[in-house]
């Protein structure tokens, strides 16, 4: 039985659940309490040495990279309808997924948590995070850019990244029914999952949809896999926007 272990019901969790629904594969969802740093508990680290908040347990494997886990699921099931036989289209699917995750995932988590979490809760969490011995350290250019952006500019920076990603999605859908090629693929699942989270976290997202994007979004909502994943996540009690920062 496949098992999603997740600390939130955001894009990664939703995308994994939708993929499993598309493949008709059964799964359970277990929750992690990220506010208590359960992702860094010894038990969870057996599944994810890095302490990632979303893990898929499948066929004896523990996969803590949701995007790559989606690719695994589709390839293991030989699901040609989620990928492509054309290497160039397969590249596009992978590239679009990676670009959208890179542009949207972190910024949405930041915006969601900061806008929807009471200040007192934020301060308490950040104090405890600072003292946690397992707290990961951000390094490299990510740390340099984070340090270079004043705190009061981070929200606008994050929103700009999300808007840019949405513009990329809109451009791809302007003349195509799906994000890559002429068929539905994993790229559509990932994009929908991220936009779903964006709509929950940000104001005015749906209103900004270009007509073609609105039509695509509606078509995605009508898919059985999407509504089934939505129900499963709701039943699990996972909140869409409880992904708190791990880099203080």
């Amino acid at each position: 039985m496949n098992r999603i272990i997740a600390g939130h019901g955001g894009a990664s969790t939703f995308a994994l659940a939708t993929t499993l629904e598309e493949l008709g594969q059964p799964y359970t969802i277990s929750s992690l309490d990220l506010s208590q740093f359960e992702q860094w508990d010894e038990g969870h680290r057996r599944h994810s040495a890095a302490g990632e908040p979303v893990v898929l347990l499948c066929s004896g494997l523990a996969m803590d990279n949701p995007l790559l886990a989606m690719l695994y699921l589709a390839e293991a099931a030989d699901a040609c309808d989620l990928l492509s036989q054309d290497p160039a289209d397969t590249y596009q699917i992978q590239a679009v997924m990676a670009q959208l995750m890179g542009q949207m995932s972190g910024p949405l988590a930041y915006l969601g948590w900061h806008s929807r979490t009471p200040q007192t809760v934020q301060r308490d969490y950040l104090d405890r995070l600072e003292r946690h011995p397992q707290r990961p350290v951000l390094s490299g250019w990510s740390a340099v850019w984070r340090d270079a952006v004043p705190e009061d500019q981070r929200a606008s920076d994050a929103r700009a990244k999300v808007d840019k990603a949405m513009a990329m999605i809109a451009a791809r859908l302007a003349n195509n029914a799906w994000l890559v090629g002429a068929r539905f693929s994993l790229a559509d699942i990932m994009a929908f999952a991220l936009l779903r989270e964006a709509r929950t976290v940000l104001d005015g997202v749906s209103a900004a949809f270009a007509p073609a994007m609105g039509q695509w979004f509606a078509a995605m909502e009508r898919r059985h896999s999407v509504s089934a994943a939505q129900r499963r996540i709701q039943l699990s009690g996972l909140d869409t926007i409880s992904c708190a920062p791990v880099f203080a």
């Binding site: 790559l68 695994y72 397969t90 590249y91 590239a95 390094s139 990510s142 740390a143 340099v144 850019w145």
Partner: protein
Amino acid sequence: MAQGLSASQGALLASMDRPQVYTWDPNSNSGKPLFVLAEKGAEFDYHYIDLLEFEQHGADYLAINPAGTVPTLIHNQRTFTESTEMGEYLDAALPGPRLVPTDPAERYAMRLRCRLTDIAAESISVIGWNNSLGPMVRSKSPEELERLIARIPTEERRVSWRRASEASFSDRQLADAQAKIVDYVRELDAVLAKSAWLAGPGFTLADIMTFANFYSLPLSNPVACQEADVPCFIDWLRRIYARPATMTTFALARSIAMRAFKVADMLNVPWREDLP
């Protein structure tokens, strides 16, 4: 040649299946497609883009890649700009040895290793920028630097380059980057203690993508890779340096990647005398 075509038209048609690679030296992301093509034994056309002269922001290059990033691959009239994913495309599209496992679980492990390397490579890049690339860029006059940065196509990347060209990294940023490199090399060493290559028994894109970022470490960051501390990692470096495709690729170097020959000497890996 098809009847009715001129020689140049015929040559153009023939070249359409020949990969066109626009990139800098065989170093980091720039090097990834070059190493892959060499391992596949593929013929390709190499268009050198000098990052230190900001050629990636010139009008000619922006016409093929409006984002102004390197590398760019053009093949069969399709354009590819993501350096890790383009490796999988090249492996699937071209004949030659397989660099991507057929087993989905091994494929996941390969892709994960590529992702983890990309994260760790940020820290190598910061140290490298602090020690060598940054001073090279800053040797330009402020006016010339500003002129070059003004050509960058997007505001986000102009901000990034401006920050990078001005970057005076804090002690904490440099220390954290160094710690990340040391930890990651030890992680690689632990993996290689259990398997011949980074994603299992076979040489894969995981080895190529990681090597493209870590090939110079014995020279650029010896503290992070003392053979006594990480013997399996050093052995892995030697084995890749000994691959014919590796030194053939480094022979394309005009700038930063030329240090590979010094590293090969440090590792006592012989290379052909006809290479520079």
